[in-house]
Amino acid sequence: MTASVIAPVAEPVRNRETNTRRRLPLRLLAIAYVSLLIGLPVAFLFGKAFGLGVGTFWHQITEPGALDALELSAKVAAIVVPVNTVVGIGAGLLLARRRFPGKRLLDLTFDVPIAISPIIIGLSLFLAYSKIGAFGPWLFKHGFMLVFSVPGIVLATMAVSLPYVLRSIVPVLIEIGETQEQAARTLGAGMWRRLFTITLPAIRWALLYGIALTLARTLGEFGAVLIVSGNVTDKTQTLPIYIYDAWDQVPTNDAGAFSGAVLLALISITVLVVLSILRARERRLRVDIA
């Protein structure tokens, strides 16, 4: 169910010629709704942030607190995205191609992070791994701080961005089947060779799409990290937390919150543009295959 929404869309059907006048009211409604709901607020944010002057904007985002936050967000992404990519590919191959006891449970496990509030995810990690949790005392005694620390942020981010790669590639894996790999096996290709030369290239756009989504989610995660990271400034503040903190100091720190928000928005929009390009490529590729 969640698969289709994050998987790239199917190839388009021929555009139908119909009366423009008939289409106009719907068109206007759609444009008005989207502009008012989404376009307007975002435009105002950019307006406010840059209205304070590009100089102020630059000054704000190069402040040590903001830079530390950016650095931490980047570090977390550098760990989480590859790990969840590997996990997504491995589990995706399993789910798409094999039957085994517990398959339903595996599938459900990957659905959990999407269906659950990030606050609950953060709370669950806290209850499991802080000193008051079941494993907490043991973990802390042996020096493993899985909450109120960077490892905690990494864990929380891993949890919330878990399913995107998997959900992107599974439909494609199912669609393309195993015939090519089987052929390759009979020709003597080993498991890894098959993976890297046949499977991954075949799903590459869906895979990249999933990776881009994972990256977007990782950089933007807020609720779970807020709970798990504690309140330490310039060490466990990712960029979203930095923005939240700065907002708390509004009206004293308007500029910090807005500039940070715009920076993060710009990064996300870049990822979004990449996503759109990937989606278009996937569309074209499928049209070629079909």
Partner: protein, 346 residues
């Protein structure tokens, strides 16, 4: 045969490198706790003191004892912070706004039970700074607030922090009740007054500093705050006016070294600095009433508002914190019941 789009080696490299990074960062316990090196001091405090601690730390780093010391800071609602430390947050020096928050750490073995009678702060009973409750209003005082009686008028919209998470709130509401008692009006009148006050409360943000932010952003028209926070806002040019009520309560904020702090040279030195004349002078010049007697006398002029014993409630006069908690903030406590009655808590 199709050419591989990813060269196997580069793909492995891309994936393995961050994994190694992850392993390195999580396997070294010291790095997970204090990645800035062993001379790092973790300071955990209540929300109002974030500004003053930046100054104290900067000043301390200019002394010989503080030359190579770095700080990691965490400030937030007092009880939330205490709970976070119990749940595992790193802390070497802690400064809460009420003793029960400190007691939580004592009960969990993080702070020694004799924290207030030993060490650098023992002459001050572990209290590193004092303050009083003030009423903050908009410039020009449009509602003509003169003290506690004005607060129960209609049209008054009070902002005060949430007493469950914020120590500041407990001081506010406790004094709302006690100012009636100290005027000998009796328990029934006190309860009636507090009820009327809470009825006028429109927002209970989670911490003292969040309450100030909300007030400045336009929530409510009256704020109950610490003198120190209000003075800092005034100095920063914020559009507010501060009204001192005729009766008040002595806010005493406890500080202590934790078990990890007691073995941290930098933490011990910093803690001593907090109670030293230099440190206490810095507190005083930032609107926090100093507890070191010599500095208190020297900086008397900075705090023109003083209260006589007949106007100032102290926790000691109420029988100590355990009695206060029991009477006011326990499940059947007076304040708890009033908060429940107005839908602020369950």
């Amino acid at each position: 045969m199709r050419r591989p789009i990813f060269r196997r080696s580069s793909l492995i490299g891309v994936l393995v490198l961050p994994l190694t990074l992850a392993l390195i960062s999580t396997s070294d316990p010291a790095s997970a706790v204090a990645p800035r090196g062993s001379d790092n001091v973790n300071v955990v405090g209540y929300s109002i003191v974030s500004g003053i601690y930046s100054k104290l730390e900067a000043a301390f780093q200019k002394t010989t004892a503080g030359k190579n010391v770095t700080f990691s800071n965490s400030f937030g609602a007092s009880t939330t912070q205490a709970n976070d430390v119990v749940a595992g947050q790193a802390a070497d020096v802690v400064n809460f706004s009420t003793v029960p928050d400190m007691q939580l750490l004592v009960d969990n073995g993080i702070v020694a039970s004799k924290w207030n009678s030993t060490g650098a702060g023992k002459a001050e009973g572990g209290f590193v700074s004092d303050s009083v409750v003030v009423i903050v209003v908009k410039p020009g005082n449009p509602l003509h607030i003169t003290g506690w009686p004005s607060l129960i008028k209609s049209g008054v919209q009070i902002v005060t922090p949430d007493p469950i998470s914020s120590g500041s709130a407990r001081w506010n509401l406790l004094e709302a009740y006690e100012q009636q008692i100290i005027q000998k009006k009796g328990a029934a009148a006190a309860a009636k007054y507090t009820n009327a006050l809470v009825k006028n409360v429109v927002a209970e943000p989670s911490s003292g500093s969040k309450a100030l932010t909300a007030f400045l952003a336009g929530t409510g028209n009256v704020l109950l705050a610490y003198e120190s926070d209000a003075s800092a806002a005034l100095t920063a040019g914020k559009p507010i006016k501060v009204v001192y009520p005729a009766q008040d309560i002595l806010i005493q904020t406890p500080a202590a070294l934790t078990d990890t702090g007691s073995t941290n040279k930098g933490a011990k030195a910093f803690f001593t600095y907090l109670f030293s004349p230099a440190g206490q002078s810095l507190w005083a010049h930032n609107a926090f009433r100093p507890t070191l007697k010599s500095v208190a006398t020297a900086t008397k002029s900075l705090f023109p508002h003083t209260y006589k014993a007949t106007q100032l409630t102290t926790i000691a006069s109420l029988g100590g914190w355990p009695a206060v908690i029991n009477k006011f903030f326990s499940t059947n406590g007076i304040i708890t019941k009033i908060e429940q009655a107005h839908g602020w808590t369950s």
